[in-house]
Symmetry: C2
Subunit: 621 residues, 2 copies
């Protein structure tokens, strides 16, 4: 705040104060007797902070809920907290300037909640959705839609048409400060990158001179490079932004980092509750108070006091062979005793994380990862956890063994274990990526009969990442309808149906199919018979087929009973889709980086290296 004084801050009336938080994952481990309240406790602390810090609004970066259809208990607790902390007589000092119907969806009044004459809002909450609480299931609704319709949350950046993106910012003014808030709710990374590269992304800038606005964007995507098409490269975002609030990544990197290519800042607040016992989740958790004055900003990190202590450690046992004398005697016991001492030390470290906050749970999360190559070094981890029965929150999985794989053996069975291994070792973060890679490996030897691997991958993504229990039904039925359409178009003889279905699989443009899938809902009548006809594809025992290049292995493993005809050629036409011509229509003139702590982004040089088409149009209002 001291920095603000010399930049013309006479009174608080001109500075916008925003509580920034993300990935609250309400309802995570809700049934766990010990950890069940953790997500709600942290979220309540955030709301308390918003009140005590007297912010103008709260900005959430997605994954407010852990499940796309959370249990009613989680939704209920969230409603209760929002009503308790965000309603009241405090006047909201943010004037809204944009066309609200363009920014908000599914609200009864198509307006921000604090302009609803029937509600008395003190602190408006703005949120995009994440991958955990995105619209899914019957009716394609996010829990944020419920909260929005109730008037508890202003849900923005919601996309239903995934063939193109048109992002209209919410325009807010407080005194001399004008904020253009761009929301990009979660879209499957691969699809988002495809939209960026295949289509024009339209970002509607405010009419007035864009220098008069602070351009803030909030996204919920992979930020770390998790393989091609598996993250959103920061460079795809436009250079006129001042700051990007990045949700989805759970490790706290809230201090703004400059992106060298685009010259905007990125702040990654991280989750408020650990949903996995990974290293990133053990970094101290923060939220931030974002202060904006004209085009200057300051982001003050606030450490959360009620988060359960979590200590993570990782050991490569091969490095301890000499120190622990593992080559001789009972190596397992030696490793066990070593691990026990290590955990004791970690428990000591956990004590240093106690904040003294009355609501902070004291029982810590402890995770010791032991990487091994020699199975002789392993011990029973369940029994090990019992040693710390009353002292850790996660008794069942204090120690986790992880095999360091050095090389693979060769062997042929129906599910090609080699291909699976190759797919696995290559730093796979998500199960659908694993599927992609596996079917890429085996596609010539072991193709699916009707369904394309990408469609199966889509099912997996929806079921695993989005907890969308209707995914299999929805995707299979959609795929099936398309297959039936194809048969109706080609009208093959009865004995040729199998071949024609194989042709369908090979010919159809899976990407195009998947694109139109998003517009598809379960509203159609069930067609059980054909769905079951597809079912043979789903268990991974596909029929042998003539491959366009020779299969790498010779023998065929146990239990693989070929049922298909295997007559269709497996050769696939090379992709001939034209890449759109890329050009850049957003450009800015130079300036330079401001001092640390108070970043004057308006002075930062902006180079236009973006290999992407943005159409920057006037805002409709």
């Amino acid at each position: 705040m001291a920095d603000m004084t010399d930049t013309g801050e006479k009174d608080a009336d001109n500075i916008m104060r925003i509580m920034v938080a993300t990935d609250n994952h309400l309802g995570y481990a809700e049934k766990d007797a010990i950890r069940g309240e953790d997500s709600f406790r942290a979220f309540e602390e955030i709301l308390e902070l918003a009140v005590s810090e007297d912010v103008d609004m709260i900005l959430l970066g997605g994954d407010l809920f852990h499940d796309s259809e959370p249990r009613q208990s989680a939704t209920h607790k969230c409603i209760e907290l929002l009503r308790r902390y965000t309603f009241g007589d405090k006047p909201v000092s943010l004037e809204i300037l944009s066309d609200q119907s363009a920014c908000f969806h599914n609200t009864v009044n198509q307006s921000v909640n604090y302009e609803d004459p029937n509600l008395n809002i003190a602190i408006p909450v703005f949120s995009i959705h994440g991958n955990h609480d995105d619209p899914s299931g019957f009716g394609r609704l996010s829990t944020l839609d419920l909260l929005s319709t109730m008037g508890l949350v202003n849900y923005f950046g919601r996309w239903t048409d995934l063939t193109k993106l048109e992002i209209s910012p919410i325009l807010l003014r407080k005194g001399e400060t004008q904020l253009a808030l761009y929301g990009l709710s979660h879209i499957h990374d691969a699809r988002l990158v495809r939209i960026f590269k295949d289509f024009q992304v339209t970002i509607n800038c405010p009419k007035e001179s864009e220098e008069d606005w602070f351009h803030l964007m909030v996204v919920h995507q992979n930020r770390a490079d998790r393989g091609p098409k598996n993250y959103l490269p920061e460079e795809l975002l436009p250079a006129f932004l001042h700051l990007v609030i990045w949700g989805h990544e759970h490790d706290c990197r809230i201090e703004p980092e400059v992106n060298a290519v685009r010259d905007f800042y990125v702040s990654q607040p991280g989750s408020s509750v650990a949903t996995s016992l990974a290293k990133g989740e053990s970094i101290k958790k923060h939220v931030g108070i974002l202060e904006i004055y004209k085009t200057k900003f300051n982001l003050k990190p606030i450490p959360l006091q009620t988060v359960r202590p979590f200590v993570f450690d990782s050991i490569d046992l091969d490095e301890y062979v000499d120190e622990l004398d593992l080559a001789s005697g009972d190596a397992s016991t030696k490793v066990h005793d070593f691990a026990q001492k290590r955990v004791e030390a970690m428990l000591e470290e956990a004590k240093t994380m106690l904040t003294g906050h009355l609501k902070q749970p004291t029982l810590p999360l402890i995770r010791l990862r032991l990487r091994y190559t020699d199975e002789q070094h392993m011990f029973n981890t369940i029994r090990f956890g019992q040693l710390f029965d009353t002292r850790v929150a996660n008794v069942a999985d204090v120690v986790k063994f992880e095999k360091l794989i050095k090389r693979m053996k060769t062997g042929k069975i129906n599910v090609d274990k080699d291909a699976m291994q190759r797919a696995m070792v290559d730093n796979v973060a998500r199960v659908e990526e694993l599927l992609d890679r596996y079917f890429d490996e085996v596609k010539d030897k072991n193709p699916l009969k009707l369904m394309h691997a990408k469609a199966l991958s889509e099912v997996t993504y929806r079921m695993v990442e989005r907890s969308d229990l209707d995914a299999a039904e929805s995707v299979l039925r959609f795929y099936n309808e398309k297959a039936v359409e194809h048969l109706m178009d080609t009208l093959p003889a009865l004995e040729n149906i199998d071949d024609e279905l194989n042709n369908f699989r090979l010919r159809n443009k899976v990407d195009d199919l998947l694109k139109s899938l998003d517009a598809y809902t379960l509203k159609t009548e069930p067609n059980v018979s054909v769905v079951s006809a597809i079912a043979t594809d789903v268990n991974l025992s596909a029929a042998p087929a003539t491959a366009s290049r020779p299969a790498r292995g010779a023998g065929r493993g146990r239990g693989s009973r070929g049922r298909g005809k295997g007559s269709a050629a497996a050769a696939r036409a090379p992709s001939t889709r034209a890449k759109p011509q890329l050009d850049v229509s957003v450009a800015k003139t130079g300036s330079s980086a401001g001092p640390q702590g108070l970043l004057d982004v308006s002075k930062i040089g902006r180079r236009s290296r973006a290999p992407i088409t943005y159409t920057v149009s006037d805002d409709s209002d």
Copy 2:
């Protein structure tokens, strides 16, 4: 309304006007492409009527939702409708006089929504829960809890402690009229009757002279006699009531009927959407405008205009043997053609049900029930339905065959089919009752090993009636914990554990167990090993055991492999629980029935024949 003029109604300020509706079953058949919107359409019409009739409040009798954890789409649509129709600037003219924290639960402000300074309510909605939307699942929440916490509904009559009932009315005043509104949300009928008979039911009457109040109760129970303990006899309700609004029963009997024993009136509005193709659902659906002036009331039925036409017919084919000449030739075809003509006539009848309302769906529901004894009279009902493909809403089940069972054969297999048949024919309405009767039949020959049949029945009830998917987990774990407690108490030798568990099953007071079950939630840690040990009980192949009286049949059927020891005596101690002494502490003096149309219940004679203890205490405020 003409009736009101001569009873001192000078202005509308003294008459309370209440929209009465029940069993809206929002979300019923939500995924059905044709019928999916039916429940919401009718509910919207009710809300529109509430606005156009300018009522003071809406009173719902339970089962607002069809599922205890409805899909988000259903919850969302309900929220949207309530926000659109019940919020606004119209002042609420009902003064609340009672202690609100005693009447309302789970509301943030422990108050009616229209007194919440942060909400602008025009028409308050009051609701109890039904069997479909009662608190269940993790956290034991009803969707009404969500709506209540949002401030959309005033949820009352919610019981968590089912060992006793203490009903405090909501006290409301409008001018000269004072209303005491008693809510009794759904409780499993058998349990409710048990509570009435085992314990004192406390009903807190208003402090002031009870003649100054109109006593209105809303319940959601079986009203029709569906077997002992399977309905709430009207006589169990206190005589000082003026009117009971009865939910749960779907056939519309909205015209108030006097109960001869208690001398109160009962109005049964019925459902607003047909959730089964039973005769009762084909009765024209209504809601009511209840007008109350002091202790007089008038209930004006309003037919709903947007309900899908539904025609039901039933034929006993045996009565048509001569007319249709079924004794010779192709009886099946003859019945088929007869049915087809009948359905054509029903379709004509359905046309007379069209109201002309723009939102009314025109495709009717048609159900022709054909009762038969001779299977030669049957035909393919699926193919039959296809004849009316584009003309009915329920193509799949236009015709339903129902076997008239005249006598049973005798035969012994593991699942005693005879016992099952005997249990089935006796007018069984619910599956858990079927279970009860079945196990009652076979208890000596074929007892369960650990679990009592009543516990299994409880599981079934929760899963089927309340769609509570956690029921099996919850009840089994609870039962298991009690069994383990018993083993820890008795500490049998290893080889005697089976016997001791059998003893546990026989000895434990199942009723008491089930009572405490309601206080039990899933918050405890899972104990997978023992749950699986119980699993053998759940598939109905229990071990043979020595019976205290000879089994009726001799042979033992196929596939029954006894696994238990069968050594414990199956004799059960006769129930020795003392019946509480019954007396009546509510008594009123005589009066006589008022004229039809306007019923002055204050003049009706009240006899105190109730074999039940009510403690009528002063209201706390």
